[in-house]
Symmetry: C3
Subunit: 305 residues, 3 copies
């Protein structure tokens, strides 16, 4: 399977075989370091919107493989403010590097970049649209923990409407025989076009408004943050956010083997008292960003095959 | 010719032989990569004023040769705001690196830095004064395309008063037997001291207010952006900027072999429909920043001879 | 002596033997470069508060030893603004690197980070509390110049109340038989708990309000900046700051062999006319940040033993 020069824009572009291949390569990279695999490769890291986790883990992934990094972490440390279009910025940068990773506030920005780029683009989040590398590391973490994906009951919990991580993860899971549980307040339900897509893939999903309804079935609870700015009425936010929280009390409802995931950053939707229980795997999940991103960088630049 | 420890502050400091030597070394670097030429060298990248193109291409140039980079991309990510003078900042950084590249909003800042630095300084733009590495890559691009510089008719178009790239390029071209055409609105004409300098060098230049007057003579049209903030009257800006634009229609006036250059970023002074014509070489020009800056970094640090 | 995986949070945690060992290693690193000592090590550089000197010298120190760096230079280029706690940020980053250097506006932040980190933390300043690597490079500079520390008369001059560098330096000096002179305006005197600590260590200190009183005794005058924001009354600031200045006139009061130090940045508390005298060693002091930080990075990551 040849990923060389392939861009990673949306999970929708990847076949099941390709997803599985990436997971397998990530596993190889995790157990067997390749300190010089990307020795002569240069990565441009273009963050038109700030990020900690994604940017830092990508940069760490690249340099740990001997690769080199340049770029910008915020739009105002670039001259984008002079009015240059995204396409012009990409056409320029494409001459300076072997791979571009980018985050942008607008949906579709990575796709537009790919159209004019002569090097592969990896989408690190475009608006509330997609965040494919997050979905791949989520999938990797599930497989690493359960040694399988098929047959699992996976709950997505919190803001399913605007959360790009749950959108990308649903796409990724559409390749597997899983049961999905969408647990969210009414106004933050999974958008219809994702549900339609899952239907077409023959995937079963169930919707619920409270965790209690489905808690004892779940193998995985994937928690996302509910953001204040999604609510017109601040009191409504306080009420909703207050009831979408994982605490030590919640754990009693869960299977003993159930695992709690979170894309991070976490504010208070998971109480820190949960961190040291066997259910919590969100920091391990974050750390899996390294092997998965190393595998991706290696595959698209040709440094890993 | 020994460039080791030489600062690159202004084109005016370089003899024709030195310019030609840099162009020749750039050509060698472009065709024959030196992946480890700067292996043990460290570059400080000090941008007191933000930049995308110059900073990113310099950093990419350095790391591609095995060199290492640290620095800051905006003044507020440094403690310059605590009131430290530029000279003190340079005296400190000079102990941490083998070469300093810097951009600063004030004219003459790089020269002041050079006075106290024990390592070579490369000026990446000081106010509306000079931007020598841009001029060198412009020259490199012209020579690369036409296989000569002498004898060409070169038009500088747009804002010739405040545009530091056209100032540096004029200086660079003063070493050659070219005809210069300055095409600009009256209030944005080339400053008198540059014209005086060109006179002293025996260079012929012609001034025009519209491209039509000279279009059929030009081998190169070097376009620069006209900035709103240069006009007291916003309506005057709209009128002027509207007439200083390159579109598909403009191309009909040009020689078939004429090439359009631009230091980028471009806003709308060149219509994107022009990008795919044979006249457009501005992205190639931007990409030439890599070999030219690699050659310069190599020469001044002693990594390339 | 094994420093591997040891965090450097406060001078108070280091025994005299450990301090001496670090100084000795710094000396070795200074005279004998180790270009590949940290070849496979990755450093996270987390500046929740901007810095030039400390960040740049640490990054230069790391890359000069072949190590790799990622991180952020300002809080707003990270997603810390999304409300993530420091501990969560550290728990994440700890999976991406071999060592973390951090500066934070709050006292005790580095200690809190250390509690949850699986890699060593080096404190680069936490509020007005501690800045241990600065103290170590100060100590290194004194020893390098005088070939001893015991027996010296060391004056700390300026803002002794809020200046974290003088706090850390006092701690460091508490291991030696020195006489300390605290010279400051009344409202900026050394805090009582530091004086109490020095008493317990059996160290002698003297307090003065003007340099004249003690100038002829001093071997070292360590100058710090007096900041306007410490004064309720701006006129009071002008009066005080005006009298706490080192000029060419001051030098006449000093021993011929006395050395003037400053953690930098300097604003106008030392006149630039002093820079070229034999008394001035503050830029050399800044440059010593490289070997001392190289030694520390090497020791805590195990790359240097």
């Amino acid at each position: 399977m040849d990923f060389k020069n392939k861009s990673i824009i949306s999970l929708r572009d990847l076949t099941k075989e390709e997803v599985e291949f990436i997971l397998q390569k990530s596993d190889e990279v995790k157990s067997d370091k390749h300190p010089d695999a990307l020795k002569d490769k240069v990565m441009a890291s273009l963050f038109f919107e700030p990020s900690t986790r994604t940017r830092l883990s990508f940069e760490s992934a690249m340099i740990s493989l001997g690769g080199k990094v340049f770029g910008f972490a915020t739009q105002d440390s670039s001259s984008v403010s002079k009015g240059e279009t995204l396409k012009d910025t990409i056409k320029m940068v494409t001459g300076y590097c072997d791979v571009i990773i980018m985050r942008h506030p607008l949906e579709g920005a990575s796709r537009a970049a790919q159209e004019v780029s002569s090097v592969p683009i990896i989408n690190c989040g475009d608006g509330s649209n997609q965040h494919p590398t997050q979905a791949l590391l989520d999938l990797f973490t599930i497989k690493d923990k359960f040694k399988k994906i098929d047959g699992l009951n996976i709950g997505l919990y919190g803001d399913l409407r605007y959360g790009r991580t749950v959108h990308s993860l649903s796409m990724a899971l559409s390749h597997y025989k899983v049961n999905l549980y969408f647990i969210s307040p009414k106004i933050l339900q999974m958008p219809d076009h994702y549900k339609l897509y899952l239907n077409q893939c023959g995937l079963k999903y169930f919707e619920a408004e409270s965790l209690e309804e489905v808690a004892d079935k779940l193998d995985v609870i994937y928690v996302t943050r509910i953001q204040k700015e999604r609510f017109a009425d601040p009191e409504e936010f306080v009420k909703v956010a207050g009831s979408y929280k994982i605490t030590l009390n919640t754990l009693g409802m869960l299977k003993k083997s159930a695992k709690i995931m979170h894309p991070l950053p976490r504010v208070n939707e998971i109480d820190t008292s949960v961190d040291n229980t066997e259910h919590a795997i969100y920091f391990e999940q974050a750390h899996n960003g390294i092997p998965v991103r190393q595998a991706l960088l290696g595959l698209v630049t040709g440094g890993i095959r």
